[in-house]
Amino acid sequence: MTYPKRIDGRKLNETREIEAKAGIIKRADGSAMFRIGKTVAYAAVYGPRNLYPRFLQNPREGIIRVNYAMMPFSSKGERVRPGPSRRSKEISMVTEKALLPVLNLEEFPNAVVDVFIELPQTDAGTRCAGICAASIALADAGIPMKDLVAAVSVGRVDDKILVDLNYDEEAFEGKVADIPIAIIQRTGELSLLQMDGEIEKEQLIEALKLGQETITKIFEVQKKALKEKYHAENGGEE
């Protein structure tokens, strides 16, 4: 089978439209909105702050704690029951691991940096959108970071290797592989890698390389969001 043309007419290496904004939640220490196509993620960062219960504390360095949640009305189908699920817990965990390599929390022993991710509207790629938003929010909160992280899904739909699968592509009848990846900006290394579906070894490597190239565009959007916020704060025009 072949997948002659993408359902929404995009090029194979083309993401959906991306938009990001930093500092959208005033109560939080840092926050961001990240939208890719119809998937919207909010992230808020609180901390470093005291961590209780105390047995969770790490005396060597601060820890990061991520909570990922889809809003009950965010999904294409039925209402999503609020509260943690096995899926949301796993996504929270892999998001933590995706962000951890760029954080420098040595200065904050026993403390926690809390990252809350909420999605009001979803169309595939939610964990990647969450990571992109969280990365901006962490920088906005002034958490010491060595680098930025961005994430996007890559994969295959039948014979094509492409980026940023939407819901219709994930649900395509035929061979599909969905591979969410997160990449550290300067090294190009992966901090998130998952896959479900079916793919050949060569296709996988090709997909990852495509992801690495495409993601530079997302870094630009993230940096622009941060610059816009600080420009505005320093009395510049928005």
Binding site: I25, K26, R27, A28, S31, K38, V40, Y42, A43, A44, Y46, R49, N67, A69, M71, P72, F73, S74, S75, K76, G77, E78, R79, P82, G83, P84, D114, F116, E118, P120, Q121, T122, D123
Partner: protein, 261 residues
Amino acid sequence: MKQLKSQITKGLEQDLRFDGRKPLDWRKIEVEYSISKNAEGSARVKFGDTEVLAGVKLSVGKPYPDTPEEGALMVEAELTPMSSPEFETGPPDIKAIELARVVDRGIREAKAIDMKKLCIEKGEKCWMVSIDVVTINDAGNLLDVSALAALAALKDTKMPKLEDETVKYGELTKESLPLSKEPIAVTVLKIGKFLVVDPLVDEEETYDARLTVTVTDGSICALQKGGGGTLSIEDVQKMVEIGIEKAGDIRKHLGKAKGAK
């Protein structure tokens, strides 16, 4: 806390609050419809920096035995830890439960939704309306903001297609949810001898008592008193009068909103 309260009261003696408002002034109110395309109806409401989203999902279920010819309504609220350092993860705490119940009661008791029209087959099948309120930023007055967000989401709701008893999500008809009333909640705080509306977080931390008055077209459909202090009948009278009068200010913003269907 005592110091904060005396600062607030000192301001109120001169008719002033921390953000420069007078006691019965609202912050800037904004209503935006259809903010989540996957919900059958949704809205974003802001009062100043306070921001709440609400979404409606519809499903088909069995009517409750005591109302076999009516649809069903459920309201839940999440005070997300994203929206305030005071909120924690986990199941809804008493604050979230009270908020959801106050919003629920306003809509239910006002008979805002024509529940009879949501019956599909008597005693067997009906539309179940789930309203979820999710807080984005808590800068005070989540009660009134949430009630307005829930109402706006209902106003935005289109019925999905129904095929062989299954809901075709994503295929909305042009038919709106049958609404007949628009209940508006106004929370009035009593701080010392002063009464204020649209409280800030600092005011919520120091009030003596509060009264949430939910009104439709000038009549009262729900009340909720909160706080550890007491209210005299004169207080109640004043607070209800404020509620009825001030609800009109809020209602104006519903119609004005862009994208209203």
